[in-house]
């Protein structure tokens, strides 16, 4: 009851909040709407319902190849970024040492740097090192920008973690690795999976870095970028975009549910055994 009253206390604020949500979602909503419209140009009034734009998608070999490439890049980047994220997040949350904040700041820096600068600077170094541009170089770039997100998810998951559980395990004769595998890992598993999903989603949607660091292979965003030049291809792009939207939405919802479960698990079990 009090919660309800508090909810409606800020009357105009509530109204603003709903308007804001509309502003956030409105542009995104147009993609699915026009992807099932018969007219090839996206304008109102809608002309009719069709799924033909979707049916055309699997008949495009270039698209299928791009999707496959995106899958490879996304899986590799998310696994690598999460591994590096686990090490760093564990170090940041568990240990105290000089330079800790500086190192953390450096690892998080890609989050606030213009992507174009990250992209061209990595491009320069890779060309200087004689690496030929390929999906591998895209993975390297994606790992760099995924690590900060992975760190954010993982440090949150590791922070609520009760250290006395690990100490108990060590006192009971478990080795350091055994403790990690049998005590730490099960508790932080949801955070790790959440990090994998977040990183995969970022990699799947990332354009600028992939655009600069890829050779001849295309990922899905690069494919879409290429299609955007042709007005006639727009409905297909809208259909593909809708599918990507859906994929991101599902992945992020699962990641969020897992993140919450992780938070609850570390808190509850800590309380249970304390």
């Amino acid at each position: 009851m009090t919660a309800m009253r508090r909810f409606f206390a800020g009357g105009w604020l509530t109204a603003y909040a709903f308007l804001y949500i509309v502003f956030l979602y409105l542009p995104v909503i147009f993609l699915p709407i026009f992807s099932i419209n018969t007219a090839p140009t996206p304008k109102f009034p809608l002309t009719g319902y069709t799924l033909k734009w979707y049916q055309d998608l699997p008949k495009t070999p270039a698209l299928l190849e791009a999707a496959w490439n995106s899958l490879i890049v996304g899986v590799s980047a998310s696994v690598l970024a999460t591994l590096l994220g686990i090490l760093a997040a564990r170090s940041i949350t568990r240990y105290r040492y000089p330079g800790r904040r500086t190192i953390n700041g450096l690892i998080m820096a890609p989050l606030v740097l213009p992507e174009i600068i990250l992209a061209i600077s990595m491009l320069l170094v890779m060309l200087q090192l004689g690496l030929s541009l390929s999906l591998f170089t895209v993975v390297l770039g994606h790992v760099l920008i995924c690590i900060p997100y992975s760190m954010t998810v993982l440090t949150a998951g590791f922070e609520g973690f009760d250290r006395s559980l690990e100490e108990a395990s060590a006192d009971l004769g478990e080795s350091a690795f055994g403790t990690f595998r049998r005590v730490t890992l099960p508790m932080v598993a949801p955070a790790i999976i959440s990090s994998l999903l977040v990183c995969f989603t970022i990699s799947l949607d990332e354009f600028v870095i992939a655009f600069f660091l890829t050779g001849t292979e295309t990922t899905l965003p690069i494919y879409i970028w290429g299609q955007l030049r042709f007005a006639a291809k727009l409905p297909g792009v809208l259909a593909l975009g809708t599918l990507l939207l859906l994929a991101s939405f599902v992945l992020m919802t699962v990641a969020e549910v897992l993140r919450r479960r992780a938070a609850r698990r570390t808190q509850n079990e800590g309380g249970l055994y304390a």
């Binding site: 919660a3 508090r6 909810f7 800020g10 604020l13 909040a17 804001y20 949500i21 502003f23 956030l24 542009p27 147009f30 996206p42 304008k43 109102f44 590096l84 994220g85 090490l87 760093a88 170090s91 940041i92 568990r94 240990y95 000089p98 800790r100 190192i103 450096l106 690892i107 820096a109 989050l111 606030v112 740097l113 213009p114 992507e115 174009i116 600068i117 990250l118 061209i120 990595m122 491009l123 320069l124 170094v125 390297l140 790992v143 760099l144 690590i147 949607d205 990332e206 354009f207 600028v208 600069f212 879409i224 955007l228 792009v237 975009g241 990507l244 939405f249 992945l251 992020m252 919450r260």
Partner: protein, 305 residues
Amino acid sequence: MTAAAEGVPARRMTRARRNALLQSEPVQGFALISPTFLYALILLVLPILVVFAHSFWTQDYLTIDHTFTLENYRIALTEPIYRDLLWRSLYISLTVSFFTVILAYPIAYFISFHGGRHKSLWLFLITIPFWTSYLLRVMSWKVILGYNGVLNSGLMGLGIIDEPSTALLYNSSAVIITLTHAWAAFAILPIFVSLEKVDRTLVEAATDLGDGPLRSFLRVTLPLSVPGVISAALIVMIPTVGDYVTPKLVGGKDGVMIANAIQAQFGKASNWPLGAALSVTTMLVVSLMAGATVLIIRALQRLAR
């Protein structure tokens, strides 16, 4: 003689000390973070240093001339085209961060103070659109603002305008609208976090001492949430200055930004050193602007007290 005899336990002791050192907190912590740290050094610090070095060199067709020169910076700062692009990028990113912060603050406030049990649901609702492809979000604005777009056809359908307006798309306003939408969530989160940290008893104290809701907000809540406002402004300002996709898709000729010029130097124009100098200049200028913004917001905060 004695020295040799004493050498053994001494060596044993150093080994013991070394083991103690290896098991000490700082060393273990550092060892654990070192792979990630190294990765950031190799793919972030080294590349930025390489860009910095390139900006002082020149390129003659395909070979790089390694003699030191400031010529690239002269071009970057004095050539009208680059100067204009840089100014426009700064203007756009400043405007975008201003609007995102102004629009985001009430939402962050609403969630923090009136969100009740649904705080995390609201936050989730707000972040969801931002996990969808940036490219697609920009594209959907193109669909909205275009000549045959949603807004034009909607306005014509309502009889407000007779023919499609071309003023909506391909200019810097289109870039500003798109970027303001694209970065909204990034501004909400830091402000929300700092509002959560505001001690509610302070607000109550202000109310008890006779401050109205507006006054207690202006004198307690707002000044205390300044750190969030600052980080929100910076987290939007710095990346948007170098945005490539939005100006390219919705900017047209009037909306081109510095990132498009940088890309051209690494692509068609193939002048890496100039591209590097433009990148370094952009980073420096945006850092200066960010610093100035922090100072101005802090000054305003002091005035509010």
